[in-house]
Symmetry: C2
Subunit: 432 residues, 2 copies
């Protein structure tokens, strides 16, 4: 991939010309949320670009959708399907390339450049999609194994269904927020003395507030109710990917989750990164998923090997004092189930996925100590201190802590990444 | 309540003048879905009524919402809040009363009557709300107890948390359909030999397709993320109620649900009745909930006794041969948790509820054999035949079976009910 003429694109930027992720911005000149892509430390405002008189010729696939980049979400664009996303991304790459075949449109058009190419710090990011339903899976093998071993011992670590199907549950769509949104510590029913019988809950702020490092996947083309998506067609239903932090209150979850699963322990907040990396941008980074020793049911068999992506992931914790510690470095290659498998399973019984629906991978952890994507694992079930810069320690999150997830693939100058998925913990509001 | 001048209002109609439930219809004259109310065997088309020149004077609260009854959902109307719903319902009751103070508007205006009062069989019903998130609770005490006893014996029937909090989980919004929509039997992973170890699943149509008789509650006024709704204010956030059938594939559910709860066993379809009975219409039918012997956490304490409604509920099964059997007669009084308690618990950690969100009560069953709201209970875990008319039997649903739920309160001529919540089972589509 050639270089870009856009200034200030560092070789370390996750937003190289090889990426072109889509997001929703507002700017001083255009305060209504609308569509842009990220390039280096800048954005290209596609609403402004679409005011260019030859826009229809430039993007013939969008001719019938004149306001598509003035929308406040990417749903209409996502629903156009992968061939259109591919063509639009490719045209934008050409426009931004140092060797563009159309320099008159943007590169040499200083007026339009001034209006359409804006520094990221001058724009505000918004939730990129209107999310109908959010489903969270449990496909991170080492996470499922390690957490299972903590509670049930290594012999019974994995539940019997784990290697047969991608276990998942329905999450809460209304509390999904864009990176940067502060996260208020939730109140909930918790058991302060786990040895007492009968159990005696109290209503209090969670004392075991945790993160879950995940990859999120947005649906483009919907399926009709009653019509499953074949695993071999599932890629056509994927718009793109984000980083996802599924904030979790472990003490609330422990008390509430039998027998119907997590509820208030999860539904207070989920943070996603603002830029959606298109499925095509991650294609060069395919890798093998975690080996599954169980013969697959036919509907889960993709008939090929490189079904997931090898994205380098990291989690940083910044204390209220400003000391930052990298608490986790891992990779999205530690998934045992691919997103096509999750989609095929999700729709097997006929469940309709809609444009903008979000699937979470489940917590991603690697096999070793520094690769664990939750405090529950890092602190070995809350029994061990995690050492931080500034002579501080944590087992779970404190008020004022800031968590930042990043994820990136590729070589310097051609990196494909997500930017930050970040949130700071606010103290609980005194109740009622 | 006085009688209505509308013809063909049987004393047994659930849609007496005391009700005035809201729904979304389309009609030959107005094929785009829009708002109506039900009265007897007729509807009053509110889009047509709003063409009346004095509409603004008639409904002063709606003056700033001129297109509100032309909307394809009730969300905008719901968001106006309970005082507006009360005023609008009361004005409609006056218009339709035999002793109306405004006979010139509708009663004696034969032209408008002809256009606005339509037989129900001439209109098509649509999903009444755009549903952001759907949450299903487990508040039916006898259901939770009986199902728990089936699996764990009577001593351990209720989980330790059951009497401390309204247990619930996130459901699937995309597969909620309006009454009358056919339900395709889902494929899924099922264990055909439960005694085999290790477990060996196969992919097949569910053999244990079931119903769940529930009451559904729609949210009107949203709460901000991070701001819980007090239990004593929760009524102000309720728009109204529907009947709900949470179709369930027990064999799929049994294999998948550990540890994160039901997923494909539930997400293939949920049916709701088309007419939303406003909260005010049910006020006269308040009753005490099931006694809870556990001291309540403060945030769940309503400080009053009559927190739920005594709605008579019944479930009919019609076989493909056309034989109909009433398989369940029970009451919504068998809930241990009220909807205000569910709302207070749901938002305790800050989870935002949005206009149009749907809460399910969980399966409603009474204490005796004929009062059980699921086949799982009626057939004692699939071990006993349920006797039907026509010398037929069931343990779970067969293809071609039609299930119809009805619910009603009140005396003849003043009944407040829901009409039918019905769906017929279609055979599974051969897979892939």
């Amino acid at each position: 991939m050639a270089a870009t003429w856009v200034p200030d694109v560092s070789p370390d930027s996750p937003f190289s010309l090889a990426n072109i992720p889509f997001g929703i911005i507002s700017s001083p000149a255009n305060p209504a949320p609308h569509v842009a892509i990220a390039i280096g430390s800048q954005v290209l405002d596609l609403k402004v670009l679409s005011s260019y008189p030859d826009f229809d010729d430039l993007f013939p696939a969008l001719k019938n959708y004149p306001g598509i980049f003035s929308n406040s979400t990417l749903n209409e664009f996502a629903a156009l399907g992968r061939p259109v996303h591919r063509e639009v991304r490719s045209t934008i790459q050409n426009l931004l390339s140092a060797e563009t075949s159309r320099p008159e449109i943007l590169k040499d058009n200083l007026g339009l450049r001034q209006d359409a190419v804006l520094p990221q710090q001058k724009v505000k990011m918004h939730l990129p999609m209107s999310i109908g339903d959010y489903t969270d899976f449990y496909a991170g093998f080492h996470h499922a194994y390690y957490v299972g071993a903590l509670f049930r011992g290594p012999q019974a670590a994995l539940q019997p269904n784990y290697t047969h199907l991608p276990v998942g549950y329905h999450g809460r769509a209304s509390s999904i927020v864009v990176s940067g949104t502060p996260i208020k510590r939730p109140f909930g029913q918790i058991i302060t003395d786990p040895t007492a019988e009968p159990k005696h809950p109290t209503t209090a702020p969670s004392r075991r507030l945790d993160i879950e490092l995940e990859l999120g996947c947005f649906i483009s083309i919907p399926n009709e109710m009653g019509s499953p998506i074949k695993v071999t067609n599932a890629e056509d239903h994927i718009f793109g990917y984000v980083l996802l932090n599924d904030w979790s209150a472990r003490d609330i979850q422990t008390w509430e989750y039998v027998p119907l699963g997590p509820f208030n322990g999860k539904n207070f907040a989920t943070t996603i990164s603002p830029w959606i990396v298109l499925a095509d941008a991650l294609e060069p980074f395919r890798t093998k998923q975690i080996d599954n020793w169980t013969p697959l049911q036919g509907y889960l068999n993709e008939g090929k090997e490189e079904n997931i992506f090898g994205i380098e992931l990291q989690v940083d914790l910044e204390t209220p004092q400003g000391d930052s510690t990298r608490i986790c470095t891992t990779s999205s290659k530690y998934l045992m189930w691919s997103f096509p498998q999750m989609i095929a399973h999700h729709t097997l019984g006929g469940c309709p996925l809609r444009t903008g629906d979000l699937l979470g991978s489940g917590t991603i952890s690697g096999p070793s100590q520094g690769e664990r994507g939750s405090f529950l694992e890092l602190s070995e079930g809350g029994r061990k201190d995690i050492m931080l810069q500034g002579m501080d320690v944590r087992r779970f999150l404190k008020d004022g802590d800031r968590i930042t997830i990043q994820g990136v693939c590729g070589e310097p100058g051609q990196k494909v990444g997500f930017g930050e998925c970040t949130g700071q913990i606010l103290q609980a509001t005194p109740q009622l």
